[in-house]
Symmetry: C2
Subunit: 245 residues, 2 copies
């Protein structure tokens, strides 16, 4: 089997918070960036899919961070496809620091959609895909699970979906939801913990001009938070849980 | 005189809008990133200033974009200091595409503040600074001017300042204000024009938890927009004008 390709980045000022420490959303962004670059390089990136009037959409992610990263830190990211079914594929991503230590990892599950009717496509329209499956490699962390609805939500704010929220799929970018959720956590939670496990289920698309509500519920004696983002019709477009240590 | 150093970047997916075209805020971010990197490299970056309990704050910027950039485009950014007075210094930045064409440029004016009392410091505490002034080089565009207050504001939304808005100076990041302003422009204005001149005056700092109002006024028969961002005390923290062609 071919060696996994390595993708290298440097943590920049814009990736960091006021402590010059990389944010969870910046790590998430490097994870998705690497998934996208790797897919492009192998011939089934969004540019290849767009030719077939299709695109990748993220269905679920589990993302864990183990160590903090700071401005100027160099990271190496590796990714591989571990599974494929007719309508869903799993891609693993591992982030290493310059000492070769694993500082973050993710399991992502993707669907391919038709760009007109937004319904899932059969992944076998890219026959070359299967040759990249590495079923011999272990998942770096537990897979994302279905996130249940929250019970006693606190409504913590609304967001009108604006130009800067919208990505190439013409819907709110996956990372933006995590930013909205992380931004309603108490600041002490963010400052006092370095290790987070985040699970997100993306359920529906959100479009330009919609108004979204971020609902939040503390759980497990303040060691975990559950989130639900709803649109104007009170439909949950995204559910998530963030646990810290 | 030494050659100007070149800083190279590649436009990534996160830098782009739904058309996979680099956003104005992404260009702004590369401009500031380069200013910061160049200052670091010459021994008066924020890490050097922090040792003296000081930091750089951006006072004014004029930023012009001339051509669109897309995902995967390589850019080369050059920067030089053109002026210094006791409390303000001017740094120019020019962005080139891979064909060597100037695609964006900026003139930035900076103050150095004391981190405790937030008042301006005498720039001469870094005596090595003066050796880098390139008074022989022309400004790439007209300097930023004082932006007058707006007359008939439309109130277009409020932003509670959250964790992801705050930078190493413990106040709202300079780029975030531009994002807020650009996000209230009519979408057609963004989509129909490729060339923007933006001038921003930063007047006061905004802190975590404050609620900001973005006020907006179309001018010059829809060829220009004036902005004012106010805090809860109705103090203008930032004024700007964006003109397009």
């Amino acid at each position: 089997m071919a060696q996994l390709q390595s993708y290298k980045y440097q943590i920049r000022s814009r990736d960091t918070d006021f402590r010059l420490q990389a944010t969870l959303t910046a790590i998430y962004d490097y994870v998705l960036q690497t998934a996208g670059s790797d897919a492009n390089q192998k011939g089934f990136g969004i540019h290849d899919l767009n030719i077939k009037n299709a695109s990748w959409v993220l269905s679920r992610i589990a993302l864990e961070t183990y160590q903090t990263l700071h401005e100027f830190d160099e990271i190496t990211v590796q990714t591989w496809i571990s599974e494929i079914s007719r309508v869903m594929t799993t891609r693993n991503i591992v982030v290493y620091n310059s000492a070769g230590e694993c500082v973050a990892a993710a399991v992502t599950q993707w669907a391919m959609i038709d760009l007109d009717n937004r319904t899932p496509l059969d992944l076998r329209i890219f026959p070359s895909y299967e040759q990249y499956i590495r079923s011999d490699m272990e998942s770096p962390l537990a897979k994302p699970t279905k996130v249940p609805p929250i019970v006693n939500p606190q409504i913590t704010g609304t967001h009108k979906v604006v130009y800067s929220d919208i990505d190439f799929n013409h819907h709110v970018n996956s990372v933006r939801y995590l930013q909205w959720m992380f931004d309603v956590l108490p600041l002490d939670t963010i400052l006092e913990h370095n290790s987070f496990r985040t699970e997100i289920s993306y359920l529906h698309e959100s479009r330009y001009g919609e108004t979204m509500q971020v609902r939040y519920e503390p759980r497990e004696e303040g060691q975990m938070a559950a989130f639900e983002i709803q649109n104007e019709e009170s439909t949950a477009v995204c559910r998530a849980k963030i646990k810290w240590q």
